[in-house]
Every structure is written in structure tokens, then in C-alpha cells.
Amino acid sequence: VSGSGGSSSGGEAEGGDKAASGSDNGELAIAVVPKLVGIPYFNASEKGAIQAGEDLGVDVQYTGPTQADAAAQVKVVEDLISKNVDVIAIAPNDPASVDPVLKKAKDQGIHVIDWDTPANKDLVEYSVKQIDDDVFGRHMAKKLVEAMGTEEGEIAILTGGLSAANLNLWIEAAQKEFDENYPGIKIVTEKIPTEEKQQVAYQKTLDLMKSYPNLKGILAVSTPAPLGAAQAVQEKGMQDKISVVGSALPTDSLPFLEDGSLDTAVLWDPGKLGALTVAVGKMIAEGVEITDGMEVEGVGQISVLEDGKSIIMGPPADFTKDNAADFNF
């Protein structure tokens, strides 16, 4: 699984100038817009996207706002429209907020797709998803129950921010899973925001453990949150009493997975997601049809849902102390 991702490391620098020179000799220009630049998750996908750009010989421009602010993100897209790129792939902070600007892009004859987080279905040609949100949320829920080794008990939910659309979707899905299949699980309080900061997640977890002494599990969505939660569990030596499951990158999780303070990190290879996004971008630009079950180089087999729009990269990867070391993101 990791092989392709592995080759991406180090290639970055040389990838940089290649991309730069690329734009001159009329290569396809594919813009990939993350929610914001400068967080580990989107850095990982950047690596993948750039790498894919080299492999597929297209000019990948990976740029986004420095804050997860809708207004700032729209600006970025508008500037990209001015640059007249061929494809814009966006991970919207606030899906609705990019509707108008995406319309504009389409009117300019730019291909529009979304990735990581769905935008307005009617505007995008394809929707590149790591995975189906519902499946993912439920999967994390199952993993937590698994780790707890019981279907009874109190759990708490940490989230990156109260207003992160996709996190909210996952949490809803997880809650559905608990309600439907694990009536014994009690969620002690509203989801708790952690400002996308490990430190905050850490402190909140400490407080949680204190105010809910018989807490059995913590579900932490957004990449820094599981680390903070695990750190708290680790420090208080509660590895055996409290299970932590969440969405985090394997390399970051490693130290916590090793001693069991973090039981399972569930995620996909963001690099691969970036690569797939670029690949899809290239195909639509070149008018190649995308079919269910087709092999994408460096990504693997993909599935296309009935709606014919949603491209699913594949099942989430579960990172545990046994396999986490093999990954490079």
C-alpha cells in the first residue's frame, strides 16, 4: 500500500522546479486547493499531489489560504481563475461559500472537482473522496468499541473545531453507529472543540478524565486531537482503562501507538488522496472516462458510486502499533 507513497518523499525539491518549468511548456495546469496550507494533513496530500504531477507530467499548483476562512479561500480560487488553470480541485472550508466562485470557474471553462470535502454536487464534475463519510464515521465508532473491548460504558468525543463540516459529518455518523448498534455506549457530553491544537486536546482530555472518572473511551476526530488525547492518557498511565481512537497520521501517532495510549489511528494516505485528485483532474481534462473499479497508477483500484460522480479511493487504513512504522506520512 505504502510503496507509491514512499517514493514521494525527497522528490519534493526537484519536483518543485520541474513544476515551475512545466507551466511554461504548455502542460496541463491542475490547481489543488486545500482547506488551508500549513497543517500536517494537507502537507502530506501536497507531497502526493506534486509527486503525481511529476509522474503524470502535469503542472500541479497546490495553494490555499493560511487560515481556514471561507473568504480567504474564495480569494485563492479567484486568483487561480485569473491564472486560467485547466482544472481546479477544491477542499472547501465551507462548501456553500464556494458555490458562486466555482460557477464562475465553470463559466470560464475550467474543470471543477472537489476533494477531501464535498462541494456542491451540481457544480463539480467529480467528487474525489478518501472514503464515504458515513462509512468512515461508523468505522471509527466500531474501532473504538473494539478497542474498549466492551459495548458498555461512557465515552467522550473530541473534535478539531465545532464548525468543520466534514468532522461534523463523521461525528454524526459515529453517533448514529453508537445509537443503532451499541445502545450500551453513553456519550457523556457534547463534542468538545480543540482548536485543531494537540495541546488543547491534551488539556481537555485531562479535564474529561477527571470530571468523568469512569470514562472508557475517547473518539478524537481531526488529526491533532487523537495525539493530544493519547498524550493525556499516556501521562496518567490510563492506557488500559481508556481507549483512544481517532483520525491521525501514522508517523505522528507512532509514539502513542507503541505504548497503547492510542489504540488505533484511522486514516487514509493523504498523499494518495492528493495523487488521485491530480490523476482524476488529468483524466477529465483529457476527456478520459472514469469507471468503477479502474486502476489508478500509484493509488490502486478505485470505486465510483451510483451517482457516477463520487470517486472513492478505498477503505480507510487502520494504523496500529504493528503497522504504523511502515508509513511515511
Binding site: V37, I39, P40, T66, K197, Q198
Partner: protein, 327 residues
């Protein structure tokens, strides 16, 4: 009749005590020693920065670049970790390098404020943008975890004496040092003097620029120390970890009775201010306050506290204005 400062410290002290009493009723764990340690350790970084900010605000200035500076230093020491040997020397080196970098950043602010006479808020707003931008560009937000930290640093980070984490001793040291400077050294008294009346300060031969430079450089120095504390506390370097902390630092200092117009302020008060905010955060969950209302509560308490403080300060001034009238 002791000075107003004391009284201000007292009023916030009362608020803290009341809040604690309430919380200890709603949650049994609140008053536990463990919880107390967690609260303090969790706010060591904020407290260290607040202590430095106290001096800045006493001189009537403000520094909104502290969080950025701290992050910058943290990132730099993070990148050094790769090269540092797995021996105690590393700790030593860190404690040498981090403050120095901090001082350099602070000194630049200080220069622009004292020599070029650009208002502090503008200068630090500028450096805030520059530092954050550079950090983001260079690290790309890359998050470093403890795997490549030198082992001694982790030992240091986890070290406890009499069951009290090292960081709390670090904070205590910083607080006492700063208190001592402010209260028992020439430069410290000059800081209070400048804040009290700059015209008089010039007349009695206090070197205005030098003091301002010192204040900002010292703020930088503490930012350096805070960077070590941050790294030790999170056992990771997160370029985004401190975004927006500066405002809370300022709030804490002012809640602690330091007068934003300058002249008044004490370390004791600032520590209380930090404690108040810390207890509030900690209490939110312990008191089972609905997530979505926590910020409302925080904001309300800040607004109320600063208003209350202003009102009592005015009363004081009114008293002082009186003249003796024949009956």
C-alpha cells in the same frame, strides 16, 4: 494606606476564590491537588509570557507578537533536535540558544519602538505577520513529534520533584526573577517610573530608550523560555500550536490589575490573572457547561472583569482628587 495595586490584586483574588468555591461544589475533583497541578502546568507557557507582558504593559506599551516569537523559537529548537547529542549537554545548549533567539526578536521590536518611535502595537503587529509568515513558509506547518527529540530532553520534560512537574519550577523561577527585577533592581524601578510619568523619568535622568529596549528584549527572552516550556509540555513542535494566544495573555495581565495606560502592575497580580482564565477553562468541562456556551461565558467574564476593574479604579481617583473643605 497601601497602594492601589494591592487592592486591585485583592479584587481579582476574591474573584478567583469565589469561582473556586463554586467549582468545588459542582465538581469534587476540582479542589484535588492533581487537578491543581494540571491547571498550573497547562498554563505555564501562558503565565511565562504574561509575566513578560506585565513589564511591557507597565511601560504603557503592548506586544502582540509574543505568541509568534515563541513559536519561532520553538520551531528553531525543534529543527536543532536532529543535531543535538543524546546527552545532558543538549539541555544546556537549548537553555542557551532559545533565550538568545528570543532576545534578538524582542530587541528588534524594542529598537523599532524606542529608536524609530513606531507605536508598539504597530511594530509588533508587523513582526507578528512577518514571523508567522516565515514560520509557515519554512516549516509548512510541519509538526514534529517526540520521536526525534533527544532522550535527555524528554527526561527533563517528564521530570518531577516532590511530585511537582519541572515546568512549574521553571515558572516559579521566572516569576521570582521578574518580580525581583521589577522590585529590587534599578532597571525594574525605571520600568515602573517610565510607566508612572515619562516626563519625570526623563528629568531624573532615566534613559527612556534603554528601558523600552530592555522591556521588549526581556519579553523576547521570556518568549524563548516559554518556547522550551511549550516544547517540553507538548513533547512536540506544532507551528500552529500557539495561534491567537497573545490576546489571552494580554487579557490575563490586565485582569491581574496591570493598568493598560501604564505605571501600575505586579507579578503577583498577573499570576492571579492567568489563574483566573485557567480555572475558567478548566471549570467549563468540570462544571459540565455546554460546549457551545463556553466562549460566551469566557467573553462575558472578561468584559465584566475589566469593567469592574475600571469602575473601582475611577472611584479611587475620585477620592484622591478631594481637597479639604472648612466645615
Amino acid at each position: 494606606m497601601k497602594s492601589i495595586i494591592k487592592q486591585k490584586e485583592f479584587s481579582i483574588f476574591v474573584i478567583v476564590v469565589l469561582l473556586s468555591i463554586v467549582l468545588s461544589f459542582v465538581s469534587p475533583v476540582f479542589l484535588t491537588f492533581e487537578n491543581f497541578l494540571d491547571i498550573i502546568e497547562g498554563n505555564v507557557v501562558m503565565a511565562i509570557l504574561a509575566v513578560g507582558m506585565t513589564l511591557v504593559i507597565i511601560t504603557g506599551d503592548i506586544d502582540v507578537s509574543v505568541a509568534a516569537a515563541t513559536t519561532a523559537v520553538a520551531v528553531i529548537i525543534g529543527s536543532l533536535f536532529g543535531f543535538l547529542p543524546d546527552s545532558w549537554i543538549s539541555i544546556l545548549i537549548l537553555f542557551l540558544i532559545a533565550p538568545v533567539i528570543g532576545i534578538i526578536i524582542g530587541a528588534i521590536n524594542g529598537m523599532l519602538v524606542s529608536k524609530i518611535k513606531i507605536p508598539a502595537i504597530v511594530v509588533t503587529l508587523g513582526t507578528l505577520n512577518i514571523i508567522n509568515g516565515l514560520v509557515l513558509y519554512l516549516t509548512n506547518g510541519q509538526y514534529l513529534n517526540s520521536t526525534n527529540f533527544p532522550k535527555p530532553f524528554l527526561t527533563f520534560a517528564n521530570f518531577e520533584l516532590f511530585g511537582i512537574p519541572i515546568l512549574i519550577y521553571l515558572l516559579t523561577a521566572v516569576a521570582i526573577l521578574t518580580w525581583f527585577i521589577l522590585k529590587h533592581t534599578l532597571i525594574g524601578r525605571s520600568v515602573l517610573a517610565i510607566g508612572g510619568k515619562s516626563q519625570s523619568a526623563v528629568r531624573v535622568g532615566i534613559d527612556f530608550d534603554k528601558v523600552k529596549l530592555f522591556v521588549f528584549a526581556y519579553m523576547g527572552f521570556l518568549a524563548g523560555v516559554a518556547a522550551i516550556a511549550q516544547t517540553a509540555y507538548t513533547k512536540a513542535v506544532d507551528p500552529n500550536g500557539l495561534l491567537g494566544v497573545e490576546m489571552m495573555v494580554i487579557a490575563a495581565v490586565v485582569l491581574g490589575g496591570t493598568n493598560i495606560q501604564g505605571g501600575r502592575g505586579s507579578i503577583q497580580g498577573t499570576l492571579l490573572g492567568v489563574l483566573l482564565l485557567a480555572i475558567m477553562q478548566n471549570g467549563m468541562i468540570l462544571a459540565h457547561i455546554d460546549t457551545f456556551w463556553q466562549k460566551v461565558v469566557t467573553g462575558a467574564i472578561i468584559v465584566i472583569a475589566v469593567s469592574y476593574d475600571q469602575i473601582s479604579y475611577r472611584r479611587q481617583q475620585a477620592k484622591l482628587a478631594k481637597i479639604e473643605v472648612e466645615a
